[in-house]
């Protein structure tokens, strides 16, 4: 059992309840024990620091100080929410970078009888812990009900892979972690080009038209790519894409129905848990039709070849012969080819 300190964040208690429930079902199979920080407070999201800097950092640092005090055998602090993860990691980073900030923050903490030495805890995101510490092999081993046939669009949002102060992610723009995890669950992973684009963040609150446009782009592309559902790591992204999808449709006169679930919900399902146990049903855009196929035999895709399809196949082969080669990419089988 690997042991970590855990910072849940406010949304886990309300809007992202499904994240919390499903998360609890996957920890056991993955051999992870999370120890919640006692009496943690809100991280300030993206709002507090826009009002005043030092109180915002003191607010975050109270959590870091509590975590450091509670550190027993582990100094790794795991966050599941993207904004919380970023705020905690960034605060620790800047406290290390700026002595003045560290001194002022500590002076403020002192008013509450606390202190924090930058770098005392290591802040990591749950997904990265699963990939790095647990490993995809262990994930695969825990899968009892592969998600075969389910087309999923992996969607990380912004704040996990960016700005990535500790360089933990494979790329800022197109990280591979979530794709690999979902593939390990047996799902068919769509190469979703908007996987780290913005969901609108607080725009749904302060400038809804922008927020809706950003949401529309995401669900339109996922729909175009034929995804059954989107999968996210972020409570804010889930909330925007799910809860505001109706408003978005109304705003644009569109009729998208793109469910969005947390990766832990799909993990729970793949690990054999029932839909209800992993919070399925809490989403406003119902994911159950798409999931109805889970556990059922996947319809065969190999249909009889008709003269039309045969002609198309020959045509395609001809086009391939004319085409210029593509450069090999990392993770591409051709990469090992002649150099």
């Amino acid at each position: 059992m690997s042991h970590y300190l855990y910072y849940p964040g406010c949304s886990m208690e309300s809007s992202a309840a499904a994240y919390r429930e499903s998360l609890e079902t996957v920890l056991g199979p993955l051999g992870i024990r999370l120890e919640e920080i006692d009496d943690w407070n809100c991280c300030g999201a993206t709002e507090y620091v826009g009002i005043s800097l030092l109180p915002a950092y003191a607010l975050i640092a109270r959590n870091l100080a509590l975590a450091a005090r509670q550190a027993d055998g582990t100094r790794t602090l795991v966050a599941a929410c993207s904004a919380c993860y970023l705020n905690l990691a960034k605060a620790d980073h800047y406290l290390q970078e700026s002595r003045t900030l560290a001194a002022n923050v500590n002076s403020a903490l002192g008013a509450g009888g606390l202190a924090y030495r930058a770098g005392s805890v290591t802040v990591r995101h749950l997904l990265e812990v699963i990939i790095t510490d647990v490993g995809l092999d262990a994930v695969r081993a825990a899968v009892s009900r592969p998600l075969s046939g389910l087309r999923v669009a992996p969607y990380l949002g912004c704040m996990v892979p960016r700005p990535d102060p500790d360089h933990r992610w494979t790329d800022h723009e197109r990280p591979r972690e979530l794709d690999l995890l979902l593939a390990a669950l047996g799902a068919e992973v769509v190469d979703y080009p908007l996987k780290t684009e913005c969901c609108g963040g607080h725009m749904t609150q302060i400038s809804p038209a922008i927020g809706f446009e950003l949401i529309r782009r995401l669900i339109a592309e996922a729909t175009r790519l034929g995804a059954d559902l989107m999968v996210t790591v972020c409570p804010m992204c889930q909330m925007n894409v799910d809860a505001f999808q109706g408003e978005t449709n109304r705003h644009f006169g569109t009729h998208y129905r793109m469910p969005i679930l947390f990766y832990t919900q799909l993990m729970g399902l793949a690990f054999g848990r029932e839909a209800r146990e992993v919070g399925i049903g809490r989403e406003l855009v119902d994911a159950r039709p798409a999931l109805a196929r889970i556990g059922l035999p996947v319809p065969s895709t190999a249909a009889e070849e008709t003269p039309e399809t045969k002609a198309a196949r020959i045509e395609a082969a001809h086009r391939r012969r004319q085409a210029l080669p593509m450069p090999p990419m990392p993770g591409d089988a051709r990469e090992e080819g002649p150099r």
Binding site: C10, A16, E47, S52, R162, Q205, I210
Partner: protein, 195 residues
């Protein structure tokens, strides 16, 4: 749009200082002075279309010392903190953190033109200061009531849906150490105002 003239004599010294002031108020190292005006930030920004200045132009205005124009700009308030500009910036400018700085300066002086975004942030902050946790229902309801009253009926199904699915707490949660937190924040504010 009115571009403020720099008053000769007065402008000169204020000019260069404004960039320094913004830089100094930013967490970490802003690298604002390194901007080469390539526009990679403005090209990356998902809400650039709604901004009165692209981030790049805002930085040029800061450099020119056009303080009032900068603090009245809606650009920082339109920032969604997606950090695309930050990781792409060829000069390593901490664009998002600079935006936070400009927001807090504008909020402090009430220099913004549109109060929607600052009010949202303030409501959020008040919640957190009172309870130690954020309170989504209260936040959204209050905010919509104030700024988007006409949208409220349209949002009702969503609110009800969230509630029936157990995704909205009806009353806020208060942390045990709320007094401790208040003391910390009080001193932090004192330090910030003092500096």
């Amino acid at each position: 749009m009115i571009v403020q003239e720099v008053v000769p004599g007065r402008g000169r010294t204020g000019n260069a200082r404004f960039l320094e002031e913004v830089s100094a108020a930013t967490a970490g190292v802003s690298r604002l002075e390194m901007c080469i005006q390539c526009g990679c930030c403005g090209g990356s920004c998902p809400s650039a279309a709604e901004m009165d200045h692209t981030p790049r132009r805002l930085f040029a205005l800061i450099r020119a010392g056009m303080r009032d124009e900068v603090l009245a700009s809606n650009t920082p308030w339109m920032c969604v903190s997606c950090y695309h500009c930050v990781v792409r910036c060829p000069q390593g400018v901490h664009v998002v953190d600079v935006m936070y700085t400009l927001k807090s300066m504008a909020a402090h002086q009430r220099a913004y033109r549109d109060a929607t975004a600052p009010d949202f942030s303030r409501t959020f902050v008040r919640n957190v200061e009172a309870y130690g946790r954020s309170f989504e229902l209260g936040l959204t309801a209050l905010h919509y009531l104030k700024h988007f009253r006409l949208r409220l009926p349209g949002m009702a199904p969503m609110g009800i849906g969230m509630m029936t699915r157990g995704r909205l707490g009806l009353r806020p949660r208060r942390i045990e150490g709320s007094d401790q937190l208040a003391a910390i924040l009080r001193r932090a504010k004192g330090l910030e105002d003092g500096s």
